[in-house]
Amino acid sequence: MPGFLLNRALQYLLTAAAASVIVFALMQLLPGSAAQVALGTEATPEAVRALEAQYGLDRPWPVRYFEWVGGMLHRDFGTSYVTGAPIAPVIADGIQVTLIVVIASIAVALALAVPLGALAALYRSRPLGAVIGAASQVGIAVPSFLAGILLVMVFALGLRVLPASGWAAPIEGLGAFASHLVLPVTALALVQAAILTRYVRSAVLEVMGRDFLRTARAAGRTRTGALVRHGLRSAAIPVVTVAGVQLAALLVGAVVVEQVFVLPGIGSELVRAVSNRDLVTVQGIVMVLVLAVLVLNFIVDLLYPVIDPRVRRGA
């Protein structure tokens, strides 16, 4: 077990290091330096050189790469050439909002997908199963930002029961916080629930064919009883894998949904930085998002032995 953990941790660290090189290298691909980009094409060569010297851009790239990575390890993401402000607080503020939305979304999505997927499997040859299957197929085809727009139309502009956009921190009052959270979370969660439902259904179907469930049935349990009591843990393994991958997808999907609801999340900061040609900020935010994806995948890896005793025994 400890060997397995150490091995995985090392693999993820290496991947993170390689990813940081890629992110950094991508930002160097531009003709001209980040200072040139920040100042625009009309800037005089003197102004560009002055800005380059100010931020140390005239030094060779390995020096700048290690300075960037070293800084990040101390939670210092450098200074934006465009705004002149440090980047770390911008990222910290944004990621809080985004994480709240994303975690609430995956929780709602799982709460919907597990019962719906199990029902779809149990009733696979009856109308209920077909209806759930068709609904999830349609749900997958609707991008979350489109779901957000539709929800705004109905609940904010039509029924006027929820705010169409904006954000309230929890300290500004829980009611306001919750009411601003409902629509973005619903938009992300519905689409994710559609995706997860299909995996839950497949996983439950797979488990239903196993011998231990037949034994449980023979011992007098009902089909649903046997499934809940003995089958769900087994079915959870593939579902957790997908939920982990989807959590990463949600994080990126949230970037777009934040634009729909004008949320001050990390996605809004990223889009603003791209529009402002603020490459240092883009570099920092992208690295944080990539790290988040890797950390989430690592956590999923750690969950396997918790759910599956066979992995624990090293089988």
Partner: protein, 302 residues
Amino acid sequence: MSSVPAEPAEPAVAEPAAPAGAAGPPALRRRRAEASLVIGACLVGLVVVLALVSFAWTPYEAGRAVPADRLAGASAAHPFGTDQYGRDTLTWVMCGARIALAVGVVSVAIALLIGVPLGVFAGMTRRGWLGALVMRGNDLLLAFPALLLAIVFSAVFGPGTGPAMAAVGIASIPGFARVARAGTLQVMSSEYVLAARAANRRPPAIALAHVLPNIGGMIIVQASVSFALAILAEAGLSFLGLGTQPPTPSWGRMLQDSQQFLGSRPELALWPGLFIALAVLGFNLLGDGLRDRLDPTLRGRS
């Protein structure tokens, strides 16, 4: 919005107590797969026809804006109404299909042409470390979801359809490489490959004669699913204003423009939204239907 891993094949389950006289589950499954295939093909066909027709004929020119007609509702002259510049929405929906399909075709081509050879190589090489290296590189790419990579590309190369195609294509490589490797490993353990190797056939010849024909079906399924993901990614990117740039019509951009008029003209969002969903649904259903037909691992299981 990023890659959805290939769904596990639906296992064949002995359904207890099927009502007498009713079709058993295998037949039911087959019927559903047939339905997926037909509906998927029809939806994809609809989008393709829209795009092709738009080259020859659209109700109006895409660039034609009549301010007097702005934000008009549906009428005989404008069946889908007009946008805030007085442009015909039907024309824009038709031309938007071009961009959606173009991004799908180019990005799937990039992913297929790079991912499949990599996957086949990783599955065939007898140097284990080389195969492992390819798959580690694959894992690294997985840390960059399509939309995120596309945003990075638009920051570096400037926003546009080209960078979007490249980014979505690169981000789709791991899916193809995984499927190709898994299929190759399966084929390589077969007796006819053993025979070919005994007959001293070179690996490239084995790859062409035995591996590719056998994994072709899985690759086509992966292409269909990737196509759907590419359309989603492009729509999201254009919605952010970082993808296809005006004046080229794109569905994502139309959705973004529609946001200011959600209260007064909701159909401005509904039309492009409907076509994004139909296109994605079509390619996903097509993939599902094809999987049942083409995936050899499923054959004989139902």
